[in-house]
Protein backbone atom coordinates (compact mmCIF):
# COMPACT_ATOMS: atom_id res chain seq x y z
CA UNK A 1 0.00 0.00 0.00
CA UNK A 2 1.24 3.49 -0.79
CA UNK A 3 0.89 6.54 1.44
CA UNK A 4 -1.73 7.86 -1.01
CA UNK A 5 -3.77 4.71 -0.50
CA UNK A 6 -3.28 5.12 3.26
CA UNK A 7 -4.63 8.67 3.01
CA UNK A 8 -7.67 7.42 1.09
CA UNK A 9 -8.33 4.61 3.56
CA UNK A 10 -7.92 6.88 6.58
CA UNK A 11 -10.35 9.36 5.03
CA UNK A 12 -12.81 6.52 4.47
CA UNK A 13 -12.38 5.39 8.05
CA UNK A 14 -12.96 8.91 9.36
CA UNK A 15 -16.01 9.35 7.14
CA UNK A 16 -17.41 6.14 8.58
CA UNK A 17 -17.32 7.45 12.15
CA UNK A 18 -20.67 8.48 13.64
CA UNK A 19 -21.45 12.19 13.33
CA UNK A 20 -20.93 14.53 16.28
CA UNK A 21 -23.75 14.82 18.81
CA UNK A 22 -23.76 18.59 19.18
CA UNK A 23 -24.15 21.66 17.04
CA UNK A 24 -20.56 22.89 16.68
CA UNK A 25 -21.45 26.56 16.47
CA UNK A 26 -23.60 26.43 19.62
CA UNK A 27 -20.99 24.43 21.52
CA UNK A 28 -18.12 26.70 20.53
CA UNK A 29 -20.17 29.82 21.28
CA UNK A 30 -20.94 28.52 24.79
CA UNK A 31 -17.24 27.94 25.39
CA UNK A 32 -16.31 31.39 24.14
CA UNK A 33 -18.83 32.96 26.53
CA UNK A 34 -17.59 30.81 29.40
CA UNK A 35 -13.98 31.78 28.68
CA UNK A 36 -14.89 35.46 28.70
CA UNK A 37 -16.72 35.11 32.02
CA UNK A 38 -13.82 33.18 33.52
CA UNK A 39 -11.36 35.74 32.31
CA UNK A 40 -13.30 38.54 33.96
CA UNK A 41 -13.53 36.63 37.25
CA UNK A 42 -9.92 35.54 37.12
CA UNK A 43 -8.66 39.04 36.52
CA UNK A 44 -10.30 40.17 39.75
CA UNK A 45 -9.33 37.33 42.02
CA UNK A 46 -6.43 35.40 40.62
CA UNK A 47 -3.59 37.19 42.37
CA UNK A 48 -5.13 36.79 45.81
CA UNK A 49 -6.07 33.18 45.09
CA UNK A 50 -2.57 32.24 44.00
CA UNK A 51 -1.07 33.66 47.18
CA UNK A 52 -3.59 31.81 49.38
CA UNK A 53 -3.10 28.50 47.56
CA UNK A 54 0.66 28.80 47.77
CA UNK A 55 0.50 29.50 51.48
CA UNK A 56 -1.89 26.64 52.24
CA UNK A 57 -0.70 23.92 49.87
CA UNK A 58 2.89 24.90 49.27
CA UNK A 59 4.68 24.86 45.97
CA UNK A 60 5.65 21.44 44.67
CA UNK A 61 9.38 21.17 44.31
CA UNK A 62 11.97 18.73 43.07
CA UNK A 63 14.99 17.39 44.85
CA UNK A 64 17.93 15.94 42.99
CA UNK A 65 15.90 15.72 39.78
CA UNK A 66 13.39 13.40 41.40
CA UNK A 67 9.82 14.04 42.28
CA UNK A 68 7.36 11.57 43.72
CA UNK A 69 4.10 12.54 42.13
CA UNK A 70 1.65 9.76 42.88
CA UNK A 71 0.10 7.99 45.83
CA UNK A 72 1.28 4.58 47.00
CA UNK A 73 -1.47 2.01 46.48
CA UNK A 74 -1.44 -1.06 48.75
CA UNK A 75 0.91 -3.73 47.45
CA UNK A 76 2.63 -1.69 44.78
CA UNK A 77 4.77 1.39 45.16
CA UNK A 78 4.91 3.94 42.39
CA UNK A 79 7.61 6.56 42.00
CA UNK A 80 8.00 8.99 39.14
CA UNK A 81 11.18 10.68 37.96
CA UNK A 82 11.37 13.70 35.72
CA UNK A 83 14.17 13.32 33.20
CA UNK A 84 15.90 15.92 31.05
CA UNK A 85 13.42 18.39 29.69
CA UNK A 86 15.05 18.55 26.27
CA UNK A 87 15.14 14.83 25.52
CA UNK A 88 12.30 13.30 23.51
CA UNK A 89 12.65 9.66 24.63
CA UNK A 90 12.21 6.97 22.00
CA UNK A 91 13.66 3.90 23.74
CA UNK A 92 14.67 2.62 27.17
CA UNK A 93 16.69 -0.22 28.67
CA UNK A 94 17.20 -1.17 32.30
CA UNK A 95 20.29 -2.79 33.74
CA UNK A 96 21.03 -3.16 37.42
CA UNK A 97 21.01 0.29 38.95
CA UNK A 98 20.81 2.12 35.62
CA UNK A 99 17.86 3.10 33.50
CA UNK A 100 19.13 4.11 30.08
CA UNK A 101 17.02 6.50 28.03
CA UNK A 102 17.67 7.19 24.35
CA UNK A 103 16.00 9.82 22.27
CA UNK A 104 16.26 12.90 20.17
CA UNK A 105 17.51 16.16 21.56
CA UNK A 106 14.92 18.88 21.36
CA UNK A 107 17.21 21.83 21.81
CA UNK A 108 20.62 22.47 20.31
CA UNK A 109 22.48 25.21 18.51
CA UNK A 110 22.59 23.41 15.17
CA UNK A 111 19.86 21.40 13.40
CA UNK A 112 19.27 18.52 13.21
CA UNK A 113 20.06 18.01 16.86
CA UNK A 114 20.86 14.29 16.66
CA UNK A 115 20.31 11.99 19.57
CA UNK A 116 21.35 11.53 23.14
CA UNK A 117 21.49 8.81 25.77
CA UNK A 118 20.91 9.62 29.42
CA UNK A 119 21.40 7.41 32.45
CA UNK A 120 18.94 7.60 35.32
CA UNK A 121 20.23 6.13 38.57
CA UNK A 122 17.61 3.69 39.82
CA UNK A 123 18.62 4.25 43.44
CA UNK A 124 19.50 7.92 43.34
CA UNK A 125 16.91 9.12 40.83
CA UNK A 126 19.60 11.37 39.38
CA UNK A 127 20.48 11.65 35.70
CA UNK A 128 24.02 11.81 34.43
CA UNK A 129 25.06 14.24 31.69
CA UNK A 130 23.82 12.98 28.32
CA UNK A 131 25.96 11.13 25.80
CA UNK A 132 25.57 12.51 22.27
CA UNK A 133 24.64 10.13 19.42
CA UNK A 134 25.03 11.33 15.84
CA UNK A 135 21.71 10.00 14.54
CA UNK A 136 18.25 9.61 16.04
CA UNK A 137 18.14 6.62 18.40
CA UNK A 138 15.41 4.10 17.64
CA UNK A 139 16.39 1.28 20.00
CA UNK A 140 18.61 0.66 23.01
CA UNK A 141 19.70 -2.54 24.74
CA UNK A 142 22.10 -3.47 27.52
CA UNK A 143 24.37 -6.48 27.78
CA UNK A 144 27.94 -7.62 28.25
CA UNK A 145 28.87 -4.57 30.29
CA UNK A 146 27.91 -2.14 27.56
CA UNK A 147 24.93 -0.17 26.34
CA UNK A 148 24.05 -0.47 22.66
CA UNK A 149 22.13 2.10 20.67
CA UNK A 150 20.68 1.64 17.19
CA UNK A 151 20.10 4.93 15.40
CA UNK A 152 19.09 6.13 11.98
CA UNK A 153 18.74 9.20 9.87
CA UNK A 154 16.50 9.33 6.80
CA UNK A 155 19.31 10.58 4.56
CA UNK A 156 20.33 7.42 2.75
CA UNK A 157 22.93 6.40 5.28
CA UNK A 158 22.97 2.99 6.98
CA UNK A 159 21.57 2.25 10.40
CA UNK A 160 24.25 2.99 12.95
CA UNK A 161 25.12 0.98 16.03
CA UNK A 162 26.94 2.61 18.93
CA UNK A 163 28.47 0.98 21.98
CA UNK A 164 28.57 2.97 25.19
CA UNK A 165 30.96 2.03 27.96
CA UNK A 166 28.61 2.14 30.93
CA UNK A 167 31.40 2.80 33.43
CA UNK A 168 33.09 5.54 31.44
CA UNK A 169 29.80 6.97 30.20
CA UNK A 170 31.07 7.50 26.66
CA UNK A 171 30.73 6.02 23.17
CA UNK A 172 33.58 3.60 22.54
CA UNK A 173 32.55 2.13 19.19
CA UNK A 174 30.37 3.15 16.29
CA UNK A 175 29.65 0.94 13.31
CA UNK A 176 27.25 0.91 10.39
CA UNK A 177 24.91 -2.02 9.80
CA UNK A 178 26.06 -3.41 6.45
CA UNK A 179 23.71 -3.21 3.47
CA UNK A 180 21.11 -1.20 5.33
CA UNK A 181 19.97 2.25 4.35
CA UNK A 182 17.04 4.46 5.13
CA UNK A 183 16.52 6.31 1.85
CA UNK A 184 12.88 6.47 0.86
CA UNK A 185 12.05 4.56 3.97
CA UNK A 186 12.46 1.28 2.12
CA UNK A 187 13.56 -0.32 5.37
CA UNK A 188 11.82 1.56 8.12
CA UNK A 189 11.79 -1.30 10.58
CA UNK A 190 14.85 -2.09 12.64
CA UNK A 191 15.11 -3.74 16.02
CA UNK A 192 17.96 -4.39 18.46
CA UNK A 193 18.69 -7.00 21.12
CA UNK A 194 21.74 -8.07 23.11
CA UNK A 195 22.15 -11.57 24.48
CA UNK A 196 23.59 -15.03 23.95
CA UNK A 197 27.03 -13.44 23.50
CA UNK A 198 26.07 -11.24 20.56
CA UNK A 199 24.40 -8.05 19.49
CA UNK A 200 21.48 -8.72 17.16
CA UNK A 201 19.91 -6.28 14.71
CA UNK A 202 16.99 -6.91 12.40
CA UNK A 203 15.96 -4.66 9.55
CA UNK A 204 13.44 -5.00 6.75
CA UNK A 205 13.80 -3.97 3.13
CA UNK A 206 11.17 -6.19 1.60
CA UNK A 207 13.14 -9.09 3.04
CA UNK A 208 13.79 -9.41 6.73
CA UNK A 209 17.45 -9.60 7.74
CA UNK A 210 19.01 -10.62 11.02
CA UNK A 211 22.55 -9.36 11.59
CA UNK A 212 24.76 -10.85 14.29
CA UNK A 213 27.48 -8.60 15.62
CA UNK A 214 30.50 -9.35 17.75
CA UNK A 215 30.12 -7.08 20.81
CA UNK A 216 33.88 -6.77 21.28
CA UNK A 217 34.88 -5.77 17.75
CA UNK A 218 31.62 -4.45 16.31
CA UNK A 219 32.19 -6.68 13.29
CA UNK A 220 29.33 -8.53 11.65
CA UNK A 221 29.75 -12.24 12.24
CA UNK A 222 26.68 -13.47 10.42
CA UNK A 223 23.81 -12.17 8.33
CA UNK A 224 20.71 -14.26 7.95
CA UNK A 225 17.53 -13.87 5.98
CA UNK A 226 14.62 -14.74 8.18
CA UNK A 227 11.06 -15.57 7.27
CA UNK A 228 9.23 -13.14 9.46
CA UNK A 229 9.23 -9.36 9.32
CA UNK A 230 10.21 -8.56 12.87
CA UNK A 231 8.05 -6.35 15.04
CA UNK A 232 9.79 -7.07 18.35
CA UNK A 233 13.15 -8.58 19.23
CA UNK A 234 14.74 -9.78 22.44
CA UNK A 235 17.51 -12.17 23.45
CA UNK A 236 18.31 -14.44 26.38
CA UNK A 237 20.56 -17.42 26.99
CA UNK A 238 18.32 -19.59 24.81
CA UNK A 239 18.88 -17.42 21.78
CA UNK A 240 17.41 -14.45 20.00
CA UNK A 241 13.63 -14.24 19.79
CA UNK A 242 11.73 -12.40 17.08
CA UNK A 243 7.98 -11.70 17.00
CA UNK A 244 6.41 -11.40 13.59
CA UNK A 245 5.14 -8.00 12.65
CA UNK A 246 1.50 -8.19 11.59
CA UNK A 247 1.28 -11.90 12.31
CA UNK A 248 1.50 -14.53 15.01
CA UNK A 249 4.77 -16.34 14.42
CA UNK A 250 7.58 -16.25 16.95
CA UNK A 251 11.04 -17.35 15.89
CA UNK A 252 13.91 -18.44 18.12
CA UNK A 253 17.37 -18.58 16.61
CA UNK A 254 19.77 -20.89 18.40
CA UNK A 255 22.97 -18.90 19.04
CA UNK A 256 25.20 -21.96 18.59
CA UNK A 257 23.77 -23.53 15.45
CA UNK A 258 22.07 -20.37 14.11
CA UNK A 259 19.15 -22.64 13.22
CA UNK A 260 15.72 -21.18 13.78
CA UNK A 261 12.60 -22.68 15.30
CA UNK A 262 9.31 -21.04 14.46
CA UNK A 263 6.05 -21.40 16.31
CA UNK A 264 2.67 -19.93 15.39
CA UNK A 265 0.72 -18.44 18.28
CA UNK A 266 -2.34 -17.83 16.12
CA UNK A 267 -2.21 -14.10 16.83
CA UNK A 268 -2.98 -11.45 14.26
CA UNK A 269 -0.67 -8.93 15.93
CA UNK A 270 1.93 -9.06 18.67
CA UNK A 271 2.67 -5.55 19.93
CA UNK A 272 5.54 -6.55 22.18
CA UNK A 273 7.93 -9.33 23.16
CA UNK A 274 10.15 -9.71 26.22
CA UNK A 275 12.40 -12.48 27.47
CA UNK A 276 13.12 -13.81 30.94
CA UNK A 277 15.99 -16.22 31.53
CA UNK A 278 14.52 -19.10 29.52
CA UNK A 279 11.25 -18.04 27.89
CA UNK A 280 9.77 -15.38 25.66
CA UNK A 281 6.54 -13.54 26.43
CA UNK A 282 4.38 -11.83 23.82
CA UNK A 283 1.26 -9.70 24.05
CA UNK A 284 -1.13 -10.76 21.33
CA UNK A 285 -4.30 -9.85 19.48
CA UNK A 286 -6.26 -12.86 18.26
CA UNK A 287 -8.75 -12.57 15.41
CA UNK A 288 -12.26 -13.87 16.08
CA UNK A 289 -14.97 -14.83 13.61
CA UNK A 290 -16.90 -11.80 12.44
CA UNK A 291 -13.88 -9.54 12.48
CA UNK A 292 -13.65 -8.85 16.21
CA UNK A 293 -10.60 -9.64 18.29
CA UNK A 294 -9.58 -10.95 21.68
CA UNK A 295 -6.39 -10.21 23.58
CA UNK A 296 -3.98 -12.20 25.64
CA UNK A 297 -0.43 -13.18 26.44
CA UNK A 298 1.57 -16.18 25.33
CA UNK A 299 4.68 -17.63 26.94
CA UNK A 300 6.95 -19.58 24.60
CA UNK A 301 9.40 -21.93 26.27
CA UNK A 302 12.76 -22.78 24.80
CA UNK A 303 13.56 -26.46 25.47
CA UNK A 304 11.95 -27.41 23.22
CA UNK A 305 10.44 -24.34 21.59
CA UNK A 306 6.74 -24.64 22.36
CA UNK A 307 3.84 -22.66 23.73
CA UNK A 308 4.15 -23.05 27.49
CA UNK A 309 1.26 -20.87 28.61
CA UNK A 310 -1.67 -18.93 27.24
CA UNK A 311 -3.21 -16.21 29.38
CA UNK A 312 -6.30 -14.12 28.76
CA UNK A 313 -4.70 -11.15 30.49
CA UNK A 314 -4.49 -8.36 27.97
CA UNK A 315 -1.74 -5.84 27.73
CA UNK A 316 -0.02 -3.65 25.24
CA UNK A 317 3.54 -3.86 26.49
CA UNK A 318 5.24 -6.73 28.29
CA UNK A 319 8.48 -6.37 30.23
CA UNK A 320 10.50 -9.15 31.86
CA UNK A 321 13.61 -9.51 33.98
CA UNK A 322 14.80 -10.04 37.55
CA UNK A 323 12.45 -13.04 37.73
CA UNK A 324 9.43 -10.81 37.13
CA UNK A 325 7.02 -10.29 34.24
CA UNK A 326 4.94 -7.11 34.07
CA UNK A 327 2.25 -6.01 31.65
CA UNK A 328 1.19 -2.52 30.79
CA UNK A 329 -2.08 -1.84 29.03
CA UNK A 330 -5.11 0.33 28.63
CA UNK A 331 -8.66 -0.87 29.13
CA UNK A 332 -11.30 -0.02 26.61
CA UNK A 333 -14.39 1.54 28.14
CA UNK A 334 -17.46 0.71 26.06
CA UNK A 335 -19.64 3.20 27.92
CA UNK A 336 -17.32 6.10 27.32
CA UNK A 337 -16.29 4.73 23.90
CA UNK A 338 -12.65 5.31 24.70
CA UNK A 339 -9.66 4.14 26.69
CA UNK A 340 -9.57 4.34 30.47
CA UNK A 341 -6.31 5.29 32.19
CA UNK A 342 -3.73 2.55 31.88
CA UNK A 343 -2.83 -0.18 34.30
CA UNK A 344 0.36 -2.00 35.17
CA UNK A 345 0.22 -5.55 36.46
CA UNK A 346 2.63 -8.12 37.87
CA UNK A 347 2.12 -11.61 36.43
CA UNK A 348 2.26 -14.98 38.11
CA UNK A 349 4.57 -16.64 35.59
CA UNK A 350 3.15 -20.12 36.20
CA UNK A 351 -0.56 -19.32 35.88
CA UNK A 352 -0.42 -16.18 33.77
CA UNK A 353 -2.73 -14.41 36.23
CA UNK A 354 -2.25 -10.86 37.44
CA UNK A 355 -1.23 -10.96 41.11
CA UNK A 356 -1.10 -7.22 41.68
CA UNK A 357 -2.06 -4.27 39.55
CA UNK A 358 -2.69 -0.61 39.78
CA UNK A 359 -3.73 2.29 37.64
CA UNK A 360 -0.85 3.72 35.73
CA UNK A 361 -0.08 7.40 35.70
CA UNK A 362 1.42 7.31 32.23
CA UNK A 363 -0.04 9.11 29.25
CA UNK A 364 -1.33 6.51 26.82
CA UNK A 365 -0.08 8.60 23.95
CA UNK A 366 3.37 8.78 25.46
CA UNK A 367 4.11 5.18 26.36
CA UNK A 368 7.20 4.23 24.39
CA UNK A 369 8.97 1.55 26.36
CA UNK A 370 8.99 -0.56 29.47
CA UNK A 371 11.66 -2.62 31.15
CA UNK A 372 12.38 -4.50 34.35
CA UNK A 373 15.37 -3.96 36.57
CA UNK A 374 16.35 -3.20 40.14
CA UNK A 375 13.31 -5.29 41.18
CA UNK A 376 10.82 -3.00 39.50
CA UNK A 377 9.02 -2.25 36.27
CA UNK A 378 10.14 0.97 34.57
CA UNK A 379 7.90 2.77 32.11
CA UNK A 380 8.68 5.81 30.00
CA UNK A 381 6.17 8.45 29.04
CA UNK A 382 7.73 10.33 26.16
CA UNK A 383 5.06 13.01 26.25
CA UNK A 384 5.77 14.23 29.75
CA UNK A 385 9.39 13.03 30.05
CA UNK A 386 8.46 11.08 33.15
CA UNK A 387 9.91 7.68 34.04
CA UNK A 388 7.64 5.67 36.34
CA UNK A 389 8.93 2.94 38.64
CA UNK A 390 6.46 0.36 39.90
CA UNK A 391 7.57 -2.19 42.48
CA UNK A 392 6.14 -4.47 45.11
CA UNK A 393 6.23 -2.90 48.53
CA UNK A 394 8.58 -4.72 50.85
Amino acid sequence: MSTEELRRQLAGLADGLPPGQVDPLAAVTRRVRRRRKLRALTAAGSAALIVVVALVVGVPGTRGGTQEVTARPPGLAIHSYHVGSNLSVSAMAVDGDSVWLAGSSTSCSTKPCGGRVERLGASSGRTDPGIPIAKDPIAIAVGGGAVWVLADSPDGSPYQLSRIDAAANKVTLTTDIPASHVTGNTNPMARLAVGAGSVWVTFYDGTSHLVRINPRTGQTSATMTILVAVGALSANGAGVWAAEDGGGRVMRIDPVTEVSDTIDTGAAFMPSLATDSTSAWVTATFPKPGGSASFGMVRIDSSPVRIGLRSTVSGYQVAAGDGQVWIIGYSYNDTAAGFDPGYVGLLDQHTGAVVASTHLTVDRNGLVAAGVGHGAAWIVDATSGVVTRVAQQS
Binding site: T3, A14, G103, D136, G246, T285, D334, Y343, H359, L367
Partner: protein, 158 residues
Protein backbone atom coordinates in the same frame (compact mmCIF):
# COMPACT_ATOMS: atom_id res chain seq x y z
CA UNK B 1 -17.30 40.01 8.80
CA UNK B 2 -14.86 38.26 11.12
CA UNK B 3 -17.66 36.30 12.80
CA UNK B 4 -19.05 35.18 9.47
CA UNK B 5 -15.61 34.19 8.32
CA UNK B 6 -15.06 32.16 11.50
CA UNK B 7 -18.45 30.47 11.16
CA UNK B 8 -17.49 29.40 7.66
CA UNK B 9 -14.16 28.10 8.94
CA UNK B 10 -15.91 26.20 11.73
CA UNK B 11 -18.53 24.69 9.41
CA UNK B 12 -15.89 23.52 6.97
CA UNK B 13 -13.41 22.14 9.46
CA UNK B 14 -15.12 21.07 12.67
CA UNK B 15 -16.21 17.59 11.57
CA UNK B 16 -12.95 16.64 9.81
CA UNK B 17 -10.91 17.74 12.83
CA UNK B 18 -13.23 15.97 15.28
CA UNK B 19 -13.12 12.74 13.28
CA UNK B 20 -9.34 12.81 12.85
CA UNK B 21 -8.77 13.35 16.55
CA UNK B 22 -11.31 10.65 17.41
CA UNK B 23 -9.09 8.26 15.47
CA UNK B 24 -5.84 9.68 16.84
CA UNK B 25 -6.93 9.68 20.48
CA UNK B 26 -9.18 6.59 20.24
CA UNK B 27 -11.54 8.59 22.42
CA UNK B 28 -14.44 10.33 20.66
CA UNK B 29 -15.63 12.15 23.78
CA UNK B 30 -12.25 13.60 24.56
CA UNK B 31 -11.81 14.48 20.89
CA UNK B 32 -15.11 16.37 20.85
CA UNK B 33 -14.17 18.25 24.01
CA UNK B 34 -10.70 19.34 22.95
CA UNK B 35 -11.81 20.22 19.42
CA UNK B 36 -14.54 22.52 20.75
CA UNK B 37 -12.03 24.13 23.08
CA UNK B 38 -9.53 24.62 20.27
CA UNK B 39 -12.12 26.23 17.98
CA UNK B 40 -13.23 28.47 20.86
CA UNK B 41 -9.65 29.63 21.28
CA UNK B 42 -9.37 30.13 17.54
CA UNK B 43 -12.42 32.40 17.67
CA UNK B 44 -11.04 34.53 20.50
CA UNK B 45 -7.90 35.23 18.48
CA UNK B 46 -9.34 34.86 15.01
CA UNK B 47 -7.61 37.89 13.57
CA UNK B 48 -4.20 36.31 14.10
CA UNK B 49 -5.24 32.68 13.49
CA UNK B 50 -6.97 33.55 10.23
CA UNK B 51 -3.80 35.20 9.00
CA UNK B 52 -1.91 31.92 9.30
CA UNK B 53 -1.09 29.93 6.22
CA UNK B 54 -3.24 27.03 7.40
CA UNK B 55 -5.44 27.96 10.38
CA UNK B 56 -6.79 24.43 10.77
CA UNK B 57 -3.27 23.17 11.52
CA UNK B 58 -3.20 25.58 14.48
CA UNK B 59 -6.50 24.08 15.67
CA UNK B 60 -5.05 20.56 15.50
CA UNK B 61 -1.99 21.57 17.49
CA UNK B 62 -4.02 23.39 20.15
CA UNK B 63 -6.50 20.50 20.44
CA UNK B 64 -3.74 17.92 20.84
CA UNK B 65 -1.96 20.07 23.43
CA UNK B 66 -5.23 20.35 25.34
CA UNK B 67 -5.72 16.57 25.17
CA UNK B 68 -2.25 16.02 26.61
CA UNK B 69 -2.83 18.52 29.39
CA UNK B 70 -6.18 16.89 30.26
CA UNK B 71 -4.62 13.43 30.37
CA UNK B 72 -1.81 14.61 32.63
CA UNK B 73 -4.24 16.35 34.96
CA UNK B 74 -6.36 13.21 35.23
CA UNK B 75 -3.31 11.09 35.88
CA UNK B 76 -2.09 13.35 38.67
CA UNK B 77 -5.21 12.56 40.67
CA UNK B 78 -4.44 9.75 43.08
CA UNK B 79 -6.22 6.55 42.12
CA UNK B 80 -6.86 3.55 44.35
CA UNK B 81 -5.18 0.25 43.55
CA UNK B 82 -7.12 -2.47 41.84
CA UNK B 83 -6.34 -6.13 42.40
CA UNK B 84 -8.28 -7.67 39.55
CA UNK B 85 -7.22 -8.81 36.14
CA UNK B 86 -7.69 -5.97 33.68
CA UNK B 87 -10.30 -6.36 30.94
CA UNK B 88 -9.72 -6.39 27.19
CA UNK B 89 -7.82 -3.31 26.22
CA UNK B 90 -9.23 -2.54 22.82
CA UNK B 91 -12.26 -4.72 22.27
CA UNK B 92 -14.27 -1.82 20.96
CA UNK B 93 -11.64 -0.67 18.55
CA UNK B 94 -10.58 -3.76 16.68
CA UNK B 95 -13.88 -4.37 14.98
CA UNK B 96 -12.68 -5.46 11.58
CA UNK B 97 -9.54 -7.08 10.28
CA UNK B 98 -8.68 -4.10 8.11
CA UNK B 99 -7.08 -0.73 8.53
CA UNK B 100 -9.03 -0.31 11.77
CA UNK B 101 -7.37 -3.39 13.22
CA UNK B 102 -4.04 -2.44 11.76
CA UNK B 103 -4.29 0.98 13.39
CA UNK B 104 -5.24 -0.69 16.66
CA UNK B 105 -2.01 -2.68 16.43
CA UNK B 106 0.04 0.51 16.40
CA UNK B 107 1.20 2.10 19.59
CA UNK B 108 -0.86 5.14 20.59
CA UNK B 109 2.01 7.42 19.60
CA UNK B 110 2.37 5.76 16.20
CA UNK B 111 -1.38 5.98 15.56
CA UNK B 112 -1.50 9.64 16.55
CA UNK B 113 1.44 10.47 14.31
CA UNK B 114 0.01 8.59 11.32
CA UNK B 115 -3.44 10.16 11.66
CA UNK B 116 -2.10 13.68 12.07
CA UNK B 117 0.32 13.28 9.18
CA UNK B 118 -1.78 11.40 6.66
CA UNK B 119 -5.38 12.25 7.56
CA UNK B 120 -5.03 15.74 9.04
CA UNK B 121 -2.24 16.41 6.52
CA UNK B 122 -0.05 18.25 9.02
CA UNK B 123 3.61 18.78 8.23
CA UNK B 124 6.22 16.83 10.20
CA UNK B 125 6.98 19.97 12.19
CA UNK B 126 3.31 20.53 13.00
CA UNK B 127 2.89 16.89 14.05
CA UNK B 128 5.92 17.29 16.32
CA UNK B 129 4.41 20.42 17.83
CA UNK B 130 1.06 18.69 18.34
CA UNK B 131 2.67 15.65 19.95
CA UNK B 132 5.08 17.66 22.05
CA UNK B 133 8.24 16.00 20.78
CA UNK B 134 11.12 16.54 18.38
CA UNK B 135 10.62 16.34 14.62
CA UNK B 136 13.19 13.54 14.46
CA UNK B 137 11.14 11.52 16.90
CA UNK B 138 8.04 12.02 14.76
CA UNK B 139 9.94 10.83 11.71
CA UNK B 140 11.16 7.68 13.38
CA UNK B 141 7.72 7.08 14.88
CA UNK B 142 6.08 7.38 11.47
CA UNK B 143 8.78 5.24 9.88
CA UNK B 144 8.11 2.49 12.38
CA UNK B 145 4.33 2.83 12.01
CA UNK B 146 4.40 2.66 8.23
CA UNK B 147 6.74 -0.28 8.41
CA UNK B 148 4.23 -2.03 10.61
CA UNK B 149 1.45 -1.12 8.19
CA UNK B 150 3.62 -2.29 5.29
CA UNK B 151 3.52 1.10 3.61
CA UNK B 152 6.37 2.54 1.63
CA UNK B 153 7.02 6.14 2.49
CA UNK B 154 7.43 8.66 -0.26
CA UNK B 155 10.31 11.07 -0.48
CA UNK B 156 8.21 14.09 0.53
CA UNK B 157 7.16 12.34 3.71
CA UNK B 158 10.66 12.08 5.10
Amino acid sequence: VEVQEFEGFLAANYEPVRRALSLALCDPRRAEDVVQEAFARAFTRWSSVSAMERPVAWVYVVAMNQARRDLRREQRRARPAVAVAPPDMAGGVATSVSLTTALASLSPRQRTAVVLRFLADLSMGQVAEAMGCAEGTVKSTIHAALGRLRIEMEEDDQ
